[in-house]
């Protein structure tokens, strides 16, 4: 199955062998492709008002699945995602608001989070500052000088990174506390909201968005190592955004992509969530293991049963290792 790319997505003129028909009322003219995964397409567009940016998640019909079954599955999954998001917002958690949707047609419109994924930000950190693999401290060789104020500056920068991890631990803890497991807790499903302090009225518009291809962790790491610079981001508003790594770490942690979320209070489910997160962090950079431990320390203090979940995480980790040893 060939998915349309942004230049051939026009349903009428495309030469692609299989092209999705966008659900009513959407047309390609006002959508910008963000990602195209196996499950569906993610676009950036506007919703309700011309200056309300939004994310449109569309799960097109799967031609290889029985139509009735396909419709039912799509509907159930989108509904589950929307319900969990609304539950989270009710509880004051930082997740995108649900702005609209149509389960029959397979789409969901979500509030646009202005910011970057934790994965993107960590990659910038790895790239710009350089980090010693063992302890996550800034690398002396890339930093250069060993002056007192340079040291102090590094310490401060480091502290911001640790603070970000604490926020991650707290966010995941709150999620589990209200009885939700994310189901796909990777670093690309965690965003850091960009605090818009200078221009509160400037609204990002659709034109400014550069579409971006998907990049795997390894290609991003490779790019970072080769000094090719950070990947392209859907820059919402170039003028109000900073590329300074420090600034990227400011702002609330927003959890996104609840497509696999479940409403559960089982320690096993919670521990698996943490395990997935741990794997995602350690895949970014070996130093991230220490950072992850800081997130877990804070997680452990977030709600009553959290310490028990951390114990369970040790079991899950062990099982995970055994599985990879056998497999």
């Amino acid at each position: 199955m060939a998915l349309p790319t942004d230049d051939n997505a026009d349903t009428a003129s495309s030469t692609s062998t299989y092209v999705h028909k966008l659900p009513e009322p959407f047309t390609t003219s006002d959508l910008v492709v963000l990602t195209q995964g196996a499950e569906g397409l993610v676009y950036r567009t506007t919703f309700l008002t011309p200056n309300t940016p939004c994310v449109l998640k569309y799960r097109p019909p799967k031609p290889y699945r029985h139509p009735t079954l396909d419709k039912r599955l799509t509907k159930a999954r989108l509904l589950a995602e929307a319900r969990v998001l609304v539950k989270c917002r009710r509880e004051g958690l930082q997740v995108p608001a649900v702005l609209g949707g149509d389960w029959e047609d397979g789409w969901l419109a979500l509030e646009w989070v202005d910011g970057r994924t934790v994965r993107e930000v960590l990659d910038i950190w790895v790239h710009k500052l350089g980090m010693r693999a063992r302890d996550g401290k800034p690398d002396e060789t890339t930093g250069g000088a060993s002056e007192g104020d340079v040291e102090a500056q590094k310490k401060e920068q480091e502290e911001r990174l640790w603070e970000m991890m604490r926020k991650v631990g707290r966010a995941v803890g709150r999620l589990h506390e209200i009885g939700v497991c994310h189901g796909d807790l990777t670093t690309s499903n965690l965003m850091i909201r960009h605090e818009r302090s200078t221009q509160p009225s400037s609204q990002p518009s659709t034109e400014n968005v550069r579409p971006r291809g998907r990049q795997t962790v390894s290609t991003m790491r490779e790019a970072a190592m080769n000094g090719e610079g950070p990947p392209q981001y859907p820059s919402a508003d170039a003028t109000s955004r900073s590329n300074e790594p420090e600034d990227l770490l400011e702002g609330a942690i927003v959890m996104i992509d609840f497509g696999l979320a479940t409403q559960t209070v089982q320690d096993e489910d919670r521990a698996v969530d943490l395990y997935v997160l741990e794997r995602a962090f350690t895949a970014t950079h070996p130093a991230a293991e220490h950072l992850f431990q800081e997130a877990m320390r804070v997680y452990g203090e977030t709600f009553k049963g959290a310490k028990k979940v951390l114990k369970r995480l040790a079991d899950v980790r062990l099982r995970g290792r055994k599985r990879t040893m056998i497999g």
Partner: protein, 203 residues
């Protein structure tokens, strides 16, 4: 002539939405009777302004009303009744009209006209409502930013069961998301849950 503001929803450019606001309305009973008689000249959504929190609140219901009409999945007779129906969290049409529609005593009114036909212009709406609504016309604002000015936030909170949402102190722990929660933050937080509830309604 009443002040009318016209909004074009993204993705539905052919169906503009005209909005008027009135205060000190003295003939709500007459307007309501026209709805009950299904007088085609009074095909509007007449809303109790106390129940509308913000532009996003109103427009999420308007979008879905329009959308359901367009894809032939509406649950009620007209696009306007669908709008009133869509605002209520539950599936009872009568209850939707009782809570969000006008009563004989309503004095602050929001009138919405979904322009399904091109001849339904802002001018036509302004003249018609100006002639038939006995009350003082108010400006909803270019982006409908004043549409929530007569809102009874407590009533809306109760309607959607939003105890604690966006409230700075006595709320649940999660409510302290932004530190100093002003009235705007409170409404924003409520609105972000409400658009979700409206979207999920009936499913």
């Amino acid at each position: 002539m009443a002040t009318v503001r016209t909004i074009v929803l993204p993705h539905y450019p052919s169906y503009p939405i005209h909005v008027c606001m009135f205060k000190d309305v003295s003939n709500a009973a007459f307007l309501r009777s026209q709805l009950l008689e299904a007088n085609p000249d009074f095909d509007y959504a007449f809303l109790d302004a106390a129940m509308i929190l913000s532009p996003q609140h109103l427009l999420s219901a308007a979008f879905l009303a329009l959308h359901c009409t367009q894809v032939a999945r509406a649950k009620t007779r007209t696009a306007h009744s669908e709008l009133v129906f869509r605002l209520h969290p539950n599936n009872n049409i009568g209850e939707s009209y009782r809570k969000f529609g006008i009563s004989d005593k309503t004095s602050a009114l929001i009138a919405v006209k979904l322009a399904l036909k091109p001849e339904t212009t802002a001018q036509v709406v302004a003249e018609h409502l100006g002639e038939h609504v006995k009350g003082e016309s108010a400006d909803p604002g270019e982006a409908l930013e004043h549409v929530g000015m007569w809102c009874d936030v407590g009533k809306v909170r109760k309607m959607y069961k939003l105890e604690g949402v966006g409230e700075p102190k006595k709320g649940k722990r999660g409510a302290i998301v932004n530190g100093n929660a002003s009235d705007m933050d409170e409404r924003k937080e409520m609105e972000s849950v409400i658009t979700g509830i409206i979207t999920l309604k009936g499913s």
